[in-house]
Symmetry: D2
Subunit: 289 residues, 4 copies
């Protein structure tokens, strides 16, 4: 979608819909010498909310890169009560990987990282187990084993936060990290913690959803990737997909099939985040693709 | 799957797994001159239960058609505590259609019926509204408008049951019939009432699931067809499928997209029932395809 | 996507990409009192071509409806060498249905028409067989049986064209019409004839693709809907989808499964056309959804 | 599907259909004390061919493991002109990986191997480039760089065959190995070389299929895994799947999306092969799942 050879700026904007928004934004870019590379705009008519992703080439842009945010805020955003995020295509986000013992998402993300597909830096991996330390070492990524129990959760999360700060982490990916993060922790990284979990049609509450799904003979299993919020597994959905199963699939088969789905869905969600393709409004993502 | 020009018998069998089951069944057919056209057998190793669908050509079969059930019961099923259903490929099932105002599944099933795709008789349509009477009349199908309210439910269901008996109905399809059937009614047609409803990943409880799904920005909507049991929408699943949606789809769009899915999923479920392709064990279907 | 209660104008635009396009278009609408309801813009960076779909509310728009095309052409399009189409949301397109003996797409489109889902007028149905005449009559749609052979093709196509003109037809849907239209006929309705056909992975040339696909044991069958061009089945693709099959599916099963897919894919393509959601550039559609 | 803790035998059988086949096979197992764990039988009525996969527990089986093939051949297969393959669940197949520079399938298979998901031994990796040598070394897998050109193809293939023999290789996976194998080489490993390639709806011949698909605006891209035969990319299909794309996806996007699909489809195909879930008849696979 984005031409990676150009240096560009990306604005993600939302506000109440009113006449003149598109013109105000495009004029700001155009009048200052920016060439629009991408524009996707969408009005949610049920809520009356305007959403836009706009990207422009910075080569001949008259405003200095570190002044763009201030100028846009003063000249456009404040007049229309816009909420705007500004990103630059040449800034590599710094991602922390949280992992437990289940390794399928972990291996998949690292293979994408190593092959250059995933445009991020991964300076640190945090786990509550030491099992995957050797994999991190191979790739020269800092690995920290920080076991979390009910009693030490607060102090261990402090250690985690320190590490994240030291490494200037922009966002966190929970690659099947089997711990619930505290509300305090989550609040430090709003819309910047990505989780993956299995999903079913219909939902099966309780601790053994694959067993319940099997008991009712579901024909489809799914995976959902979302931003983590204080309410467990109820944050805005980034990406979902499903696969078909049959009565011949045992619980074990379903778990294996689910793993393959989880890794693809998580990788797509991470990609959307890294490319600044999405915007969160209330509890809902708007994904520009 | 089944060659429709041959006259064949179909057995659907389940019992606790033990050695010798396949041999006992195949010997019964083979020794009496039957040629096996189809055999699918499956052991659920988590429950230790054996499932089989077997179909054979009746042309040279030594046992008279109306005696097969008795002979099989005596010679095989009773010895192994099998639960068996016997069907014949040349018997057309008689199907009743229950409908309300929403017509998408209704039109779709009738078009399949009229074009000969659906191998059933549809002698009667029952609705709580008169809106679709003219469509039934065009096709010379008996149409009864039986409005159900909280107060008259019991007596109206009696009328419905009388009609079903008069028309020798084998099974009922709820083509978006917006009434909850009473437990008494459901018990008269065990595993013979097929329903269709939308499903989401994850599930959204409450009366306006499309709105809730929209609020959280789901990327996938689904439909589930199942046999009706006393517990609402918790019966054994026959068929499921999904479609992808995006943040650009309004609640109205999602409803429309869901309709297209519902009609396909319901038609597939009806087809499985009509072809005796499935078997219910506990709350789970085994679909032989 | 479009709020059906508002009266709006829709512009579909393409031209070589250059700075200032978005501003010029949005200024035209904004300065004349139009409120933008929908804007989707896309630059094909491989070809350097700009595409846009923009829709605005006409309530307070200063330019009279029948003058908008002229004003836009003079003030904007001609300056930037834009190719633009203008549509109005309150104009119902007039659609002709061409059909042969296979009725699945035909029934499906008519059910959508009758239930109000398909926002068109269908004044005329043309077939080379009389088989489905009774269905047309039920719905009071003019039905013409015009059998086409190698020898009479030219004169029969003349009859068809006369009928299409009499009925002021805007576009034609080939709902499994098994005749190849002549180049002359196709040229009269550029990007206004929609066809549906099955597709396979990989493709199987020759007259019996389902048989060839079966022979190689394909696991997926597909359907493609496209605009008809002079080159057979090579026109711009509007919509595609697939379903999974297995070795247990006979050629007959695959044909049946393919039919269900064809009707859904064709209906989606017709919907895109009717909603002015798509634009053709060279041999490629840009679908704004 | 298969309980991995039991030691079992698996027979894959095909022959012309005739009465008594199932009984003959199940009697052989039953009469010698074998308990049938899995039986799937299918008659291809278009060709009159019988296919079966049957698996039984060896714990109490009266015939010694290394004599089963001979006994079955003598007592059953030869009488009915069956073609039968015998496998044992506790034999790990030895797999060679052929790779070039594109690493997505390579990384994915190795991650599954390392995490224990893929029940094989991988003693050797062969490549025409040295790029991925360091990855093989990390996992202590023998890596050989054997560059193939037009002129040295025959002698390099001889080297490859020697390596495969030294390592007692059972089957080969071409994980995006960009060389065409000679007919002679292919004949040494009939139905034992698995390839993966992209597929489109419809097919786009020529050297740049992604570009051609892009030119016509395809909405779906696919991947097909198949056994390699003398005719290029025309061998029996093992597994296929697709993903949806849009006009917004550049050729580069389509390539990236295609890679994710290829790795999943190839892994599923390898799994089927390793589990002895499939059988080839003429140019078609029968996949028992």
């Amino acid at each position: 979608m984005t031409d990676s050879t150009k240096k560009s700026a990306i604005l993600l904007i939302h506000c109440l819909d009113k006449p003149g928004l598109v013109v105000a934004i495009t004029d700001f870019i155009h009048n200052n010498g920016g060439n629009i590379l991408y524009l996707d705009q969408h009005v949610d008519s049920e809520r009356g909310v305007f959403f836009m992703r706009i990207e422009w080439d910075l080569k001949k842009f008259a405003i200095q890169q570190d002044k763009i945010a201030e100028y846009f805020e003063t000249l456009v955003a404040s007049r229309y009560q816009m909420t705007a995020q500004l990103h630059f295509s040449d800034t590599k986000l710094r991602m922390a990987l949280f992992v437990s013992k289940m390794s399928h998402c972990f291996y998949d993300l690292l293979a994408r990282y190593e092959s250059g597909e995933l445009n991020v830096e991964i300076p640190v991996i945090i786990s509550n187990h030491a099992d995957l330390q050797h994999v991190a070492e191979r790739l020269d990524i800092d690995f920290h084993c920080i076991p979390v129990t009910k009693n030490n959760k607060q102090q261990q999360e402090e250690k985690q936060k320190e590490l994240l700060q030291q490494h200037h982490i922009d966002f966190i990916v929970l690659a099947r990290y089997m711990q619930v993060l505290s509300d305090d922790f989550v609040k430090c990284y709003p819309q910047r913690i990505i989780n993956i979990h299995h999903s079913f049609l219909p939902a099966f509450p309780g601790g053994r959803p694959y067993h319940s799904a099997y008991e009712r003979g579901v024909k489809i299993i799914g995976a959902t990737s979302h931003y983590v919020t204080a309410e467990l597994d109820a944050g805005p959905i980034i990406e979902q997909d499903v696969v078909h199963v049959s009565h011949k699939d045992s619980v074990e088969d379903m778990v294996r099939i689910g793993r393959d789905l989880e890794k693809i869905v998580l990788a797509r969600a991470v990609r959307h985040h890294v490319h600044h393709d999405l915007l969160v409004y209330e509890n809902r993502t708007v994904v520009f693709e």
